[in-house]
Amino acid sequence: MSYLEIKNLQKKYTANGPLIVNDMNLSIEKGEFIVFLGPSGCGKTTTIRMISGLEEITGGDITIDGESIVNKLPRERGVSMIFQSYAVWPHMTVYDNIAYPLKLQKLPKDEIKRRVEKAAEATEIQGLLKRYPAQMSGGQRQRVAVSRAIVVEPRLFLMDEPLSNLDAKLRVTMRTELKRIHTQQGSTSIFVTHDQSEAMSMADRIVVMYKGKIEQIGTPMEVYQDSATRFVAEFIGTPPTNFFDASIIKEGKEIYAKGEGFYYKVPASLHQALADYVGKEVDMGIRPEYIGISPQKKEGEGYLCDAEIDFIEPQGSHSILITRIGTNQNVKIHTVDYMDMKPGTKVSCYVKNEMVMFFDRETTKRIK
């Protein structure tokens, strides 16, 4: 049994309303850094509020260390939380904010002092203990919230979009900082975000959520390279995966994906999976960096089609080329080889390393 188990978790806000969290199952090991990733409104906040006890569950069970916590009050669950608004109390000094949970536990004064100072040190706010939140920057308030969360030495550490109110630069530094604190404290953490690059850079495992359901659970590499559904392929990665409408055609021993403007010979590794889809419509997805281009005509293995470059977006380390293939007017190609290509250039496009994905139209699941 895992450290934290979420079993068939369900949530409805109103009796006849929609299932906001729909049959969620998840196991988390001690010490893991888990990120809930999904677009706004998919139920991430609802889920961690159910874990913290601030929201009642409609169905299912949550256990920590084999013991069900769903009937416990928030304060009995041994979890701490960092809120999106930080929720540091404006009428208390930083010291009192951090000491609050310890004072409620009626710990001796000197122990409270020692632990508050230790927590403040971990987030590097030792010098601010006498200040009020109004006298501090957003980043500093965030650190107060983190100190308060670690001072109780929680069994589980919940964070609801804690970085979303910070400016872009600070957000990136705080990522590293939070991850460092997580490792130092040896805590088990669930971190909620809708920012996929935040998720990718922080998570041990990412839980991709969409409309109250888990789409995929996996390491950052897995969800990126081996996306389980069309949604995951689309949501993760900037720019996102390019999609094409394709129909699967069998010609002799070969299988082709035929779409408007391309006729792609499917690699042999996918033949078995696609066997059931011959004659059917599917979604074909290729990530921007797996579309190769060549200014010379290059038919043969992996060849997709010919195209004309419309725009170019230089990024310094690489460039994004924008072109049209069939009905997709906004195909993005990540290139490091042709960074200063001129708009209007005619190129041949091909799929690199057989990195093509097919998705079932009905279930949106990956065909593999």
């Binding site: 006890g53 601030l54 979890v79 809120f83 608004s85 540091v88 109390w89 404006p90 009428h91 409620l104």
Partner: protein
Amino acid sequence: MMDRLSAVQKCVFAIILAGMVMLVTIPLLFFITVSFSNATEMTQFPKRMFPSGEVTVYVEPEEGGKYELFYDYKDGNGYTSIITTNSASKLEKHFARQYAVTIDGDELLEEFAKTRTEGAREFTFKKDMFYNFRQFFKIVPNAGPALKNSIIVSLYTILISLSLGSLAGYAIARYKFKGREQINVGLLIVRMFPTVGISIPMAVMLIKMGLYDTMLGLAFLYSIPNIALTSWITSSIFIGINKELEEASFVFGANSVQTFMKITLPMAFPAMAASSMYSFLTAWNDTISALILTNENQTLALVVYKAIGTTSSGIQYAAAGSIVLIIPALVFTFIIRKYIGQMWGGVEL
């Protein structure tokens, strides 16, 4: 163009502001002046802006040990003959009543005796600046207890309307229940009622409860509109307090009572201080309800009101009474203001 326009705007604002300030301060200044004036100064026209600190009389010796006193003696012209007497007690009374000069009668006669050898001349005496205030407490014998009553009834009113009003405000802000909107509107309507309208039925009720002519009974009446006002003000503050602040408290180990006492209530404090000011002012300034609901135990405002209404001669005593009435209100207001301003490192809510 922009600059000139804003200069004109600034001018207009300055004039409007100055007008408003004058509108508020001139009557107040006038009352302050009056409260420091003596009876003679009261009859002068035009009235002086600042009451003088001393009184000068011109004394002429008369036959039979009498002296004739002149006030406002201008080079022998236009002076007013006030009194001719040789009685020490009469002189003493006259000086106190007319000039607010407290001095022994025999001492005066001794001074005036100088005119018998030196001829008629002027004498200058120091005015007792707080004569009117002392006199107010003397001629209105229940002013002292009334001041105490006013303080008590104000404290009761603050206590009742704050505790009940903020709880109601919290419920309205945080819980969804049937009729919440109606209650919200109802609160405003209660606030619109003139308290005097409820005074008569309240009097009947209070007599039944044995609370007639007590400060607690009076505080109940004052609390009616103020509970409504307090809950109205605090509910909008509670709504403005981010729910996550309370939830953080729950997660970090507090129960509901602890959360309310340690998080919610302190954060609503500025609003509660502001509404307590309203409660205070209602209780402190009311006269008409106090007139109905009390008999022996009058409040200061009522006493001052009666003093102003009944004394035709001594308006300066009533003015002194009014100043006595205003000062605690001012002090209370400034303390609250300062306290709100200094809280939490100057956080704005």
